[in-house]
């Protein structure tokens, strides 16, 4: 049985799965140019998804933020000690960069922040109306990220947008799992309040439940 002290970050044990990118990240952290290249090409697609989630699918700043995040990742590898997987570590850096960009843009020019989201290409499963509702819900979550405290925004984005578990968020941020749970509870409650305040979305939610 595994016991974990309340209030301390999760520790890796022998049963933890091996991170396939660990060796590559160590070599990259030592300045191996080939390792840096390989690592970037491996993790940048996941970082792109994170940035796209926070800024919106077709935001004009996506490429700049992604580049900034990638440089940040390479710089942070020296001090990365493998507390989380490299992929989660990289995604967290991308999320934090994108959230910071949102805040900066919000302060600079409120009206220019949201680039209207182009609906994803229609699929067989979703009608155009359902796609429009989904886009509205995504916009609500992004707006909420600007209003919540940074730590709650980060937890909400990592969990809701990227599907991280509580343990993965705790490992990536080096915080106790119970702290993550508490942040998530508050953030999710705020999200629910905003979504159900919209009568149409509330109705769709009930139909999807």
């Amino acid at each position: 049985m595994r016991l974990r002290l309340v209030g301390t970050p999760a520790k890796k044990d022998a049963t933890s799965p091996v991170d396939p990118l660990a060796a590559l990240s160590r070599a990259a952290g030592l300045g191996d140019a080939h390792a840096i290249d390989t690592l970037l090409l491996t993790v940048t697609p996941a970082m792109l998804r994170a940035v796209r989630g926070v800024l919106g699918g077709d935001h004009r700043e996506i490429e700049d933020v992604l580049q900034e995040s990638a440089i940040g990742l390479v710089g942070a590898l020296k001090t990365f000690r493998g507390e989380s997987t490299v992929l989660h570590f990289a995604c967290r850096i991308a999320v934090l960069s994108a959230l910071a960009t949102r805040r900066r843009l919000r302060e600079r020019a409120k009206d220019l922040l949201e680039t209207p989201e182009v609906l994803p290409l229609a699929s067989n499963e979703s009608s155009p109306v359902e796609l429009a509702w989904a886009a509205r819900r995504r916009a609500i979550l992004r707006d909420l990220c600007d209003a919540l405290p940074s730590a709650q925004s980060e937890a909400l984005v990592l969990h809701c947008m990227l599907g991280f578990t509580v343990e993965e968020i705790a490992d990536a941020g080096q915080v106790p799992p119970n702290t993550v749970r508490s942040r998530l509870r508050l953030a999710k409650e705020a999200l629910r309040t905003r979504i159900v305040a919209d009568p149409t979305l509330r109705e769709t939610l009930e139909s999807e439940a």
Binding site: A28, G29, L30, G31, A33, I36, L40, L41, T44, P45, L48, R49, A50, R52, G53, G57, I62, E63, L66, Q67, A70, I71, V74, G75, L77, K78, E117, V118, P120, L121, A122, S123, A134, A135, R137, R138, I140, L141, H159, C160, M161, L162, G163, F164, T165, V166, E167, E168, R181, L184, R185, K188, E189, L191, R192, I195, V196, L205, E208, A209
Partner: protein, 333 residues
């Protein structure tokens, strides 16, 4: 949500990843029945799963970013290992090597070609020179200006008819086509493949389907061998399939992308191409070809993001037991 029973956030995340056991599924369903907050969280999470999926143009974007990071001075400042102060003796030795290197370079550069080749081979420079020269289209162009060869004509016409030159002429050694294609050719009018591609993408994002379609087609006609044209076949295919509702034209695009398997693999587009092709075939009612394409997708990319869709569709086809009539042989191998 109750005070006694905290929300199973990790179960919610794992439900989206499809890794729940049947017991965990029952636990989660029971919780969702009484917790509106978690229902909202799950629905919004699924909205994002669909929205942040990979796009055909991502491959180029990722490559651009990786290139930019590689060229960034900030990168070297952050990861360079700590520099040790060189000892005076060691520094002198390094200066000596550098001076010798410079002298040899000057001699090699000034020498006659035959002597230069001999000396370069002797000093082991031959491979380095060939590698350095090969990808640089401008260097090749300069060399060809000095010594006209059949390759010059074929490269400028898109590389479709590369004629090998005599083997004994080092300047005219046939180069792999990919090296020439790596540089997007510029049009005499000033528009580049990259610009055309960016304009087409902008039109597509703005909802101007006909404009995007026209630009993608122009790109493919003017620069058929460019990397942008490769990607545009998949992008245009999806546009035709899902916005213009024209599966026949979309299939044509996907087939053209499939007919250059090496290139689509290289650009990471093969998975997207197979998915688009299978969907187009489904819309056209060519069930047998569709089934083969899904199977090929699963065979080549077992961990694909489209694997669930492929399995589901294969089940539907199997349950329906539908076999369409004789169909043309698929382009995929």
């Amino acid at each position: 949500m109750t005070a006694a029973q905290p929300c199973p956030d990790s179960l919610l995340a794992r439900a989206r990843a499809g890794t729940l056991s049947s017991l965990e599924k029952r636990q989660l369903l029971a919780h969702l029945g009484q917790c509106e907050t978690c229902r909202v969280s799950l629905v919004v999470g699924q909205d994002f799963d669909a929205a942040v999926a990979a796009r055909p143009e991502d491959t180029l974007l990722v490559k651009r970013v990786a290139d930019a990071v590689r060229a960034s001075p900030a990168l070297y400042a952050s990861v360079s290992p700590p520099k040790r102060r060189a000892r005076p003796g060691r520094r002198l030795w390094m200066y000596g090597v550098a001076a010798a290197w410079l002298t040899i370079s000057c001699v090699v550069g000034a020498a006659r070609p035959s002597f230069r080749r001999t000396l370069a081979v002797f000093l082991g420079f031959q491979d380095h020179e060939v590698r350095r020269d090969a990808p640089a289209a401008d260097v090749v162009a300069r060399a060809e200006q000095k010594k006209p060869s059949p390759i010059k004509t074929s490269v400028s016409s898109g590389g479709a008819e590369t004629t090998p030159a005599p083997a004994e002429e080092p300047a005219a050694v046939p180069r792999p086509e990919g090296l020439v294609r790596a540089e997007s050719p510029a049009a005499p009018g000033g528009a580049h493949a990259k610009e055309l591609f960016a304009q087409a993408n902008a039109k597509r994002r703005a909802g101007d389907e006909s404009g995007a379609r026209r630009l993608y087609q122009e790109l493919q006609q003017r620069y058929p061998q460019s990397p942008e044209a490769e990607v545009s076949r998949v992008a245009l295919g999806r546009l035709l399939l899902e916005r213009s509702q024209d599966p026949k034209a979309a299939l044509d695009q996907f087939d053209r992308a499939m007919n250059q398997p090496g290139q689509s693999d290289q650009a990471g587009l093969a998975e997207e191409t197979l998915f688009g092709r299978a969907t187009a075939l489904m819309r056209l009612g060519r069930t047998d070809d569709e089934r083969k394409t899904w199977l090929l997708l699963l065979d080549r990319f077992p961990g694909s993001v489209y694997a669930d869709r492929a399995h589901a569709r294969l089940r539907e086809i199997s349950l329906a037991g539908v076999q369409d009539g004789p169909t043309p042989k698929p382009a995929v191998k």
